[in-house]
C-alpha cells in the first residue's frame, strides 16, 4: 500500500516529522517499508512550473515544435520539443520546465539513466531548456508527451515546492485489511496522534437508499453466502475523457495507472475507502430476456458460474470458469468475475454515456480462491481477499457517483439500488482491567483502557468494572478480548511495557538422552577430525539412483514427494544421506584436496496406513584425499581408505561404550566389491561403510581415489548406549607383553583370529594388538602373516614367566588346531 502524504493530509493534520511518524506507525504495526521522496532530486534552482506562452513551428522539422516558456523570470525561453501533446498555436498550459544544469532521467532509455541538461542545437535551432515528461522527472514511465500541470499551477515556483511529495510504502500484515485505504491509514494515524479524521465532506445520498429493484435496474443475488451485499448507482450522460491532473497524480503516486475519468474514479474511491468498485457501460447491460438495448429493465444476477461457462475478461483473455467462481451476470450471461475482473463486453469505453457503478461485497475466501485459480492478482481481489466490511458499499457508491458527476459531467439517477440479504451483527466485546493485566503484565485502570479504545472509535460502556466495547464496522479483525488487549498494548506503547522474568511455577526438568546422545556423537566425530555438514533434505530420484548403478531405479512410491516442488532437482524427500553428502564432497574437492565430512539428519520414510512418514535420524560420513594435511613434518602422502573410516567407527563405538561391536564383509551396490562392511552392535546391524564403487564415484563426479563412505541408523546406535558406565578396577600388578606372529590362510578374517586368541587367552589376556600384516617372502603364496602383541595380567597377583608361557602356548596350540595357524619364527 502506497500512501502519498499530500493525500493523507486531506483527512488528518500531520504533527510529526515524516521519519518520526513512520517510526510510530511501524511500532504500532503499520510497517513502513520505505519512505519515497518524490521530487527530492528536482533542483529547486533549476526546475520550475512553466507556462507556455507560444508554440511555433520548427523551421526544419515537421515533428518538432518550438515552445516558448515563461518560468518566472519575465524572459520567456524558447525550447525545441517533440512532444505530441502540444501543438502550434497552443497557449497557457502549465508544464514542468527544466533549465540548463538540471539532472533528469533519459526518457528514451529502458534502464534508469540520469543526464545533465546542456544547451544544444536541434536541427539548427538553439535550445537551452526542456519541457519534461513524467518519465524524465521520475514520476512514472510515461514518456508519451510532456506532463501537463493544473491550470492554476503557480508559474515560476520551483517544481519541487509545487508537487514534490513523500510516499510511505506500507507492508501490511493480513490482519490490517482496514489499512488498505487512505481513510484506514488516516484513522490509525489519528489514534496514534490523538486526533479525529476529517471524513465525508460531501452531501450524503444515503437518505435515498433504495431497494434491490429500481426503475432502472433489478438486482438479484442468487448466492448470498458469497455476496452479502450488492449496491449500484447510475450516472447518466457522462463525458469520457482524461481525469484532471490532480487525480492522475494521486493515482500514479499510489501506484495505479490513470485510464479515463470513469475508471480512475472507481480506482480513486477504492484507494480512498478500500471498497473495490466496477463501472459498467449501462447501455450494454441486458434485461431478463437477454435483449440489448433492453426492452425491459437491465438485470444483474450474482451467481456461481455454471460448469465450463466461458467469458472474456477485460484483458481480452477468454476464460473457462469453474463452478465455485462467483459471477456478475445480466440477462444474457456473465459480465464480470465478481471482485476479480470485469468483462470485455460491458467495459466502459470512449462512447459510453451512461455508467452503472457496482459497489458490492463478496466473500473473501471465494475471491481469494478465484483470483489464485485464475492467476489474476488485481487490486480489487487483493482487497476483497483480505476482507471488506459490507457497510462500505454505500459510502463508496455515493462518493464515486459524486466524483463522476463532478469530473465527467452527467446526472446521478434517482436512488441507489441495494440488495443486502446478509447483514453483519454488531459485535460487542467485553474486557476488564484485570484481564489486561493478566495478559500484558501492566496494571492499567479502566479509564485508561476506555480512552485508548475510544481513540480507535470503539464505543465503550462500563458496567460494574466490565468494559463493553462496540466494535467499529471496519474492524473485521476484532472479535475477542485478546484482540482488544492488543489494541490497548499497541496504542499504550510497547516501549512502556515493563521487563519482567517469569515467576510462574517451573515445569519438571527432564533430560533428553536422545538429543544428548546426538550431540555427543557430534563431539566425538569432530574430535576425529570430521567437519559437520547439513545438506538439503530434498533431492531427486536420479541422485538416489546413482548410489545403485545397474540396480532398479528408485520407486517413487517409496518416497515423500512434493506436489509443488520449486524445481525437479528438489522434489523428493531423501531416504539416505549418502547422495547429498557425496555431492558436498564433490563440491569441496574443487577447492581442497582433503575432505572429511559428517552429517546427522533425518530421513523420511512413508509408512502404509500412516498420514505422516517416519523421520528417523541417520549419521553419514564421507572421507577422501590425503590422510594428513601437507606439511614439512608429513613424511609420506597417503590417501584415506577404508581403515581410516573404520578407525573413526571404532572410536565412536568405543567412546559410546559399545564394546560388543563386530564387522562383517558385505556386498553393497554403493561400495566396491570386497570393500565394504556392516557394523553390528550387540548383534543388531546398525549400518554399512566402505570404499565407494568406482562407477558410483564417476557418476557423482568424484576423482579416481578412495572415497570412504558410511551411513548408520542413529536411532539404533543410540538405543544401544547405556546412560551410565560403571568403573572396572585397575590391576595393581604388572602386565607382561609377548608378541605372537601367526601364518594363516589368506581367507581367514582378522576378526576371527582375534576372537580365537581372546577366547583361548581367557581372563589373563587383557589386550590384543595387531601390529603387523605381511605377505610375501618367506611366507608362502595364499598365506599371510599377522603379528600380535598380547598383554597378560592377573587381577590379584604378579604373573610368573612360567604362567605366561603356559597361556601363550595354549593360544598358539588352539589356533593351530582350529584354523591351522602356524607360529612364524
Amino acid at each position: 500500500m502506497r500512501v502519498p502524504i499530500s493525500w493523507l493530509k486531506d483527512y488528518i493534520d500531520l504533527t510529526l516529522p515524516i521519519e518520526e511518524l513512520a517510526e510510530r506507525m511501524t511500532l504500532a504495526g503499520l510497517e513502513v517499508g520505505a519512505i519515497e521522496h518524490i521530487g527530492a532530486k528536482w533542483d529547486r534552482e533549476k526546475i520550475f512550473v512553466g507556462e507556455i506562452v507560444e508554440v511555433r513551428r520548427h523551421p526544419d522539422a515537421d515533428r518538432l515544435t518550438i515552445a516558448v516558456v515563461e518560468y518566472g523570470t519575465g524572459e520567456p525561453m524558447a525550447v525545441v520539443t517533440g512532444a505530441p501533446n502540444i501543438r502550434v498555436g497552443d497557449k497557457g498550459q502549465k508544464v514542468p520546465f527544466a533549465t540548463r544544469g538540471s539532472r533528469l532521467i533519459d526518457g528514451h532509455s529502458e534502464e534508469l539513466r540520469y543526464f545533465t541538461l546542456k544547451p544544444s542545437k536541434i536541427r539548427g535551432v538553439r535550445s537551452e531548456g526542456m519541457v519534461c515528461s513524467e518519465k524524465e522527472l521520475g514520476i512514472s514511465d510515461d514518456h508519451e508527451g510532456i506532463m501537463i500541470l493544473e491550470d492554476d499551477a503557480p508559474t515560476g515556483v520551483p517544481l519541487q515546492d509545487y508537487m514534490g511529495d513523500t510516499v510511505l510504502e506500507l507492508d501490511l500484515t493480513p490482519n490490517l485489511a482496514r489499512c488498505f485505504s487512505m481513510v484506514g491509514v488516516a484513522r490509525e494515524v489519528a489514534a496514534l496522534s490523538s486526533q479525529k479524521c476529517r471524513l465525508g465532506e460531501w452531501p450524503q445520498l444515503s437518505e435515498r437508499i433504495g431497494k434491490p429493484s429500481l426503475p432502472w435496474v433489478e438486482l438479484e443475488i442468487a448466492d448470498p453466502d458469497l455476496c452479502p451485499r450488492y449496491t449500484a448507482a447510475l450516472v447518466r450522460d457522462v463525458q469520457i475523457g482524461s481525469s484532471p491532473p490532480w487525480l492522475q497524480r494521486r493515482l500514479t503516486l499510489a501506484g495505479m495507472r490513470p485510464i479515463n475519468n470513469i475508471v480512475d474514479v472507481t480506482n480513486y474511491v477504492m484507494l480512498e475507502w478500500g471498497q473495490p468498485l466496477h463501472a459498467f457501460d449501462y447501455d450494454l447491460l441486458r434485461d431478463r430476456d437477454g435483449v440489448t438495448p433492453p426492452s425491459g429493465v437491465p438485470v444483474i444476477i450474482v451467481r456461481r458460474a455454471r460448469r465450463a461457462e466461458l467469458m472474456t475478461t477485460l484483458d481480452g483473455v477468454g476464460r473457462a470458469l469453474s463452478e465455485d467462481t462467483l459471477l456478475i451476470t445480466d440477462g444474457g450471461g456473465p459480465v464480470a468475475i465478481a471482485g476479480v475482473m470485469g468483462g470485455l463486453e460491458s467495459e466502459v469505453a470512449e462512447k459510453t454515456t451512461n455508467v452503472l457503478i457496482e459497489s458490492a461485497n463478496f466473500n473473501n475466501i471465494s475471491i481469494r480462491r478465484t483470483s489464485q485459480a485464475l492467476k489474476i492478482p488485481s487490486e480489487a481481489a487483493a482487497r476483497f481477499g483480505r476482507g471488506v466490511p459490507p457497510q462500505l458499499t454505500m459510502i463508496a457508491v455515493e462518493r464515486s457517483a459524486r466524483l463522476m458527476q463532478e469530473l465527467a459531467g452527467g446526472t446521478i439517477e434517482e436512488g441507489i439500488a441495494d440488495a443486502y440479504p446478509v447483514r453483519p451483527e454488531v459485535k460487542v466485546v467485553d474486557l476488564t482491567a484485570k484481564e489486561v493485566e493478566r495478559i500484558l503484565g501492566i496494571a492499567l485502570d479502566t479509564e485508561q483502557i476506555v480512552s485508548i479504545l475510544e481513540s480507535l472509535e470503539f464505543e465503550c460502556q462500563v458496567e460494574g468494572g466490565v468494559i463493553r466495547a462496540t466494535v467499529p464496522h471496519y474492524r473485521l479483525d476484532v472479535s475477542i478480548p485478546a484482540d482488544l488487549i492488543e489494541e490497548v498494548a499497541r496504542v499504550y506503547g510497547y516501549d512502556r511495557l515493563p521487563t519482567t522474568l517469569m515467576d510462574d511455577e517451573l515445569p519438571p526438568q527432564q533430560r533428553d538422552y536422545s538429543l544428548e546422545g546426538e550431540e555427543r556423537v557430534r563431539d566425538i566425530l569432530v574430535g576425529c577430525g570430521l567437519t559437520e555438514a547439513i545438506t538439503y533434505s530434498l533431492s531427486n530420484l536420479e541422485s538416489f539412483a546413482k548410489l545403485d548403478p545397474g540396480g532398479a531405479p528408485p520407486d517413487p512410491a517409496d518416497y515423500v514427494k512434493l506436489s509443488n516442488p520449486l524445481t525437479t532437482e528438489r522434489e523428493y524427500m531423501r531416504r539416505t544421506l549418502m547422495a547429498s553428502l557425496l555431492e558436498a564432497v564433490r563440491d569441496n574437492l574443487r577447492y581442497t584436496e582433503r575432505v572429511a565430512l559428517f552429517e546427522i539428519g533425518r530421513i523420511y520414510l512413508p509408512q502404509p496406513g500412516q498420514e505422516l512418514p517416519d523421520e528417523p535420524r541417520r549419521l553419514a560420513i564421507a572421507m577422501t584425499g590425503p590422510r594428513d594435511r601437507r606439511s614439512w613434518r608429513t613424511e609420506e602422502q597417503r590417501y584415506v581408505d577404508f581403515y581410516d573410516l573404520k578407525g573413526v567407527v571404532e572410536t565412536l563405538l568405543d567412546r559410546l561404550g559399545l564394546t560388543a561391536q563386530s564387522f562383517a564383509p558385505v556386498e553393497h551396490p554403493t561400495f566396491r566389491s570386497g570393500g565394504a562392511a556392516t557394523i553390528e552392535v550387540a548383534d543388531v546391524e546398525i549400518g554399512v561403510f566402505g570404499e565407494v564403487d568406482p562407477k558410483v564415484r564417476t557418476s557423482f563426479d568424484l576423482p579416481a581415489q578412495p572415497v570412504a563412505l558410511l551411513e548408520l541408523d542413529l536411532e539404533e546406535l543410540l538405543a544401544q548406549v547405556e546412560p551410565v558406565r560403571y568403573h572396572r578396577p585397575i590391576s595393581r600388578f604388572p602386565a607382561v607383553s609377548q608378541d605372537m606372529s601367526l601364518v594363516v590362510d589368506e581367507h581367514v578374517p582378522a576378526q576371527q583370529l582375534e576372537d580365537l586368541i581372546r577366547r583361548a587367552g581367557g581372563e589373563l589376556l587383557v589386550e590384543v594388538t595387531l601390529f603387523d600384516v605381511y605377505r610375501g617372502e618367506p611366507i608362502p603364496p595364499g598365506k599371510k602373516s599377522l603379528a600380535y602383541s598380547l598383554t597378560y595380567r592377573h587381577a590379584e597377583k604378579t604373573l610368573t614367566d612360567r604362567q605366561v608361557a603356559k597361556v601363550h602356548a595354549r593360544i598358539a596350540k588352539r589356533l593351530e588346531k582350529e584354523i591351522g595357524a602356524r607360529l612364524r619364527e
Binding site: 493480513p174 515467576d503 577430525g529 555438514a533
Partner: protein, 339 residues
C-alpha cells in the same frame, strides 16, 4: 627391633634410587629381596629367635616392608625398562607444528547449542517434532483454516492437500501442549522448516527455526519481553536493547516483532539494519486463546507466550554473514571459520 626394620627400609630405598639400570636393579633385588640371602628374607627368618612378646609386632613390620619393597621394585623396574628417547637436535621453534586434523561443528548447530544453553538456564527444555506435518497442525489449529489470508505469509510445499512440509516450528506448540497438558510448559522446539521460496542471499527454502513456548498460570507479555532481553544480552552482549513492534501472527494475540539495537552500528544506522538502528530477531506474542484451547489448556486460567527465532539469522547477525546460502552449501572454507 622395629627400629631395625625402619633402618633397613631407609637403606633399601636409598639403594633403589641409586640403581640406574636393570642389572644394578637386579643386584638390588638379590641383595634385599633375594630368596636366599636377601636382607628382608633374613629379617623374616630371624623372627623365631625373638622373645615371644616381640614377635607379632616385628613380624608385621617385616612383612609390610617386604610388600612395600616388592612394590617399589616393580615400579622401578617398569621405569627402567622404558626405552629412552633423547632428542638432541637443535629445535627451530619458529617451524610450524605438526598439523592436527580438526573437525568443526556446523555453524547452525553451534548457534543452536548456544540457544539451548541460554534458554536452558531459564528452564526451557528441548523437544523435537516432525518436519513433514499435517495441514491441520501447521495451519488450521493455529487459526488458519483453508484459504485464510494469513496463509499467504507462508509459501508452502505440499505433499498432498492434507500434508505439508512444516513452514515453521509452531505446529510443535500444539503437539507439546497436548503432550504436557495441563502441566506448566517451558520448551524450545528446534528443527528444519521449509518454504516455497526462491533461494536468494536472504531466503532459503530449507532453514532452521527455534520455537519457544511458555505456558502457565501467570505468564505475561512483560515476561516475554524479559525473556527476550535476557536472550539478546546473553547472545549478543550485555548492553543490548530490545524493543517490541506490533505485528501479526494468527496464532498469537497480541503479536509482536522483537527488534534489537543493531550490533554492527550500535543504533547509528548501517547496511545491516537498513539504516534504522534496529534489527529484527524474532516474531513472538501471547499464545492465542483458541490455540491454548486447541492444545488443551483453558485460556481463562492459563496464559502463555511463544516466539519463533531463526538460528541462521542469529548467526548472521552475530558473525556478520551477509548471505544465508553459505549455511547449506557446505563449503569447508565457510564451515571452518567457526568454532
Amino acid at each position: 627391633m622395629v627400629e631395625k626394620v625402619q633402618m633397613l627400609k631407609e637403606e633399601a630405598m636409598q639403594a633403589l634410587q641409586a640403581a640406574s639400570n636393570l642389572p644394578e636393579l637386579d643386584d638390588w633385588r638379590v641383595k634385599y629381596l633375594g630368596r636366599k640371602g636377601g636382607a628382608v628374607t633374613q629379617l623374616l627368618r630371624s623372627i623365631p629367635e625373638l622373645p615371644a612378646e616381640e614377635r607379632p609386632a616385628f613380624g608385621q613390620a617385616a612383612n609390610e616392608l617386604k610388600g612395600f619393597l616388592q612394590e617399589r621394585y616393580e615400579a622401578r623396574h617398569a621405569e627402567l625398562s622404558r626405552p629412552t628417547v633423547e632428542m638432541t637436535e637443535a629445535i627451530d621453534v619458529t617451524l610450524p607444528g605438526r598439523p592436527v586434523n580438526l573437525g568443526r561443528l556446523h555453524l547452525t548447530i553451534q548457534t543452536l547449542r548456544e540457544m539451548y544453553a541460554i534458554f536452558g538456564q531459564m528452564g526451557f527444555q528441548v523437544e523435537e517434532w516432525p518436519e513433514v506435518e499435517t495441514d491441520l497442525l501447521n495451519f488450521e489449529l493455529l487459526n488458519m483454516p483453508p484459504h485464510h489470508p494469513a496463509r499467504d505469509m507462508w509459501d508452502t510445499f505440499y505433499v498432498n492437500p492434507k500434508v505439508v512440509l512444516r513452514t515453521h516450528t509452531s505446529p510443535g506448540q500444539i503437539r507439546s501442549m497436548r503432550k504436557h497438558c495441563s502441566d506448566p510448559i517451558r520448551i524450545i522446539l528446534p528443527g528444519k522448516c521449509y518454504r516455497y521460496e526462491a533461494v536468494t542471499a536472504r531466503s532459503e527454502f530449507m532453514f532452521y527455526q527455534v520455537e519457544g513456548l511458555a505456558v502457565g498460570r501467570r505468564i505475561t507479555l512483560a515476561d516475554l519481553k524479559g525473556t527476550m532481553v535476557d536472550f539478546a544480552r546473553q547472545m549478543f552482549g550485555a548492553d543490548r536493547e530490545v524493543r517490541f513492534r506490533c505485528s501479526y501472527f494468527p496464532f498469537t494475540e497480541p503479536s509482536v516483532e522483537v527488534d534489537m539495537d543493531c550490533i554492527i552500528c550500535g543504533g547509528e544506522g548501517c547496511r545491516v539494519c537498513k539504516h534504522t538502528g534496529w534489527v529484527e530477531i524474532c516474531g513472538a506474542g501471547m499464545v492465542h486463546p483458541q490455540v491454548l484451547s486447541n492444545g488443551g489448556y483453558d485460556p481463562d486460567v492459563y496464559s502463555g507466550f511463544a516466539f519463533g527465532m531463526g538460528p541462521e539469522r542469529v548467526a548472521m547477525l552475530k558473525h556478520d554473514i551477509d548471505d544465508i546460502r553459505y549455511f547449506y552449501s557446505n563449503d569447508l572454507r565457510f564451515l571452518k571459520q567457526f568454532g
